[in-house]
Each structure stands twice: as C-alpha cells, then as structure tokens.
Symmetry: C2
Subunit: 146 residues, 2 copies
C-alpha cells in the first residue's frame, strides 16, 4: 500500500505539470524505493516518457544493470504494451497496478503482452490495488480538460 501511495502522489504531481496523471515506483530487493516518477511526455517531448519507462530507466541506472532482478514496479494505471514489454525486458519480478485501462492497457486488455508464448519473462501481476483513487484522479483530469 505504502508504495502505491507514493505512486499516486507522483501521479498527482504529473497532473500539475499537465501530464496524464500516472505515477510509478520501483522497489528494490531491500524493499526501498529505487525510482519514483510520473509521466513526462509533454515536458520532455518524448512519446516514450511514460512513468513506467522513466522509472525503469532510473532504477537500471541506479543499479548499473539493464536487468532489475528481484525488483517490483508499482504503477497507478494498467501499463500499455510499450511499458508491459519494457517490464518484461527489465525482468521485473512483480507488477502491481491500480486502475484497469480497457482503452489503452496492454496487460489485461489489447495486446496482453505477458500472455504470449514468445514472452520471455512475465512478472507476477496484481491489478486493482487502490483502484478507485487512481481512477478518480484520471476522471477528474480528463473532465477538467474537456
């Protein structure tokens, strides 16, 4: 729960930057946060700057390894196919996400990246943790923009 609260705080900060409110935290083998960030697509002019990708890059830089062995990723929204495959490539142990994303998700919806026989590494997946908080934040963000 504690790590999802941190991720939700990152999502809130992303919204204040005009980004879709998504936040992510990566927890290392010792149980401490290795990386914590939110979406920065518009800020960085980078279509790949989803919270999960930024967190994976930061954690890998911290560990000086492209593989995040025994690390867990907490994110406030179901990852898209890009982020899901990045999670697989990084060998993340467990993925915990809050809101489900029927429109853009790539884990339980759409491409279902971890479900194919060619997926070399699939993390343990736990969805729906503190779902209502994350969903509410997204709803408010898009409502204010319309």
């Amino acid at each position: 729960m504690e790590m999802m609260v941190l991720a939700l705080d990152e999502a809130r900060q992303a919204a204040t930057r005009g980004e879709v409110p998504v936040g992510a935290v990566i927890v290392g083998p010792d149980g401490r946060a290795l990386a914590s960030t939110g979406n920065r697509i518009e800020e960085l002019n980078d279509p790949t700057a989803h919270a999960e990708v930024l967190a994976i890059r930061e954690a890998a830089a911290n560990l000086q390894s492209p593989r995040l062995i025994d690390c867990d990723l907490y994110v406030t929204l179901e990852p898209c196919a890009m982020c899901a495959q990045a999670i697989s490539l990084a060998r993340v142990r467990r993925l915990v996400f809050a809101a489900y994303d029927p429109k853009g998700g790539g884990v339980e919806h759409g491409a279902r990246v971890f479900s194919h026989t060619t997926c070399h590494h699939a993390p343990e997946v736990v969805g729906g943790v503190m779902e209502s908080y994350a969903a509410q934040m997204l709803k408010q963000f898009f409502k204010a923009r319309r």
Copy 2:
C-alpha cells in the same frame, strides 16, 4: 533502400559495441534522416534502449514534439511489443523493417500490437526489406557469442 542501408550500418556499429545488431533511422517529412542509432542496452544500462526507442526519442527531441507526424521509421529487425507501441504512440506514418523476428517480434508475431481494436494509431507496415542482410548479421553475431 538508402535509409535501410543506413540502418544496417547502425546495426553493424551496435555489434562492435557488443550489442545485438539492430539499427534504426527516422526519416522526416522532407525525406531527410532525423535520427539514426543502434541498440545501446548494455552501454547505457537501459533495458528500453532499443534502436527504435532511442531513434524516436532523438527525433522527437529534434522536432520538439512527442508526435512524429509524417515521419517514417526504418529498422533492421521486426520491432518488439515495446517498440511497436512506442511507434504507435509517436504516430509514426510508416514502419519499414528488414528481418522478421518470430521469437521476439511484436508486429507480425506475439503481441501483434497494431492488430488490436484498442490500438489508436497503426502505421503502414512494410516487412522484409533487405531481410537477408539483416538476418545474416544477427546470425553471425549470435554464432560468435556461443
């Protein structure tokens, strides 16, 4: 052809850095290369540093926009699900790739990212361009490593 030759040269340079030989080039609306790079996963300790992602990030930074409108991406290997979704998010117009990748590809194999109804933007896809050159380079790289 010219742009794929450039991408193959980037793949060759990646191999000399000890990276899986994959190269990518992004061509802007004026027909000139906006970004050109190869895999840098080991060099950067970044599991997301596939040639396509690096090229998209570089081109978006050059255009100062997260959307690569009217841009085409040339890559020496069928993109994985991460790169395919990044291509979709970046609104790339056309994807041209060389070798098919039954084991790791996410366009014609596995997650088939562009084939889902929830995929908001699918590029035109042309596969198999100069396929034998790219496949041969990959085969030699993995043979030398075993």
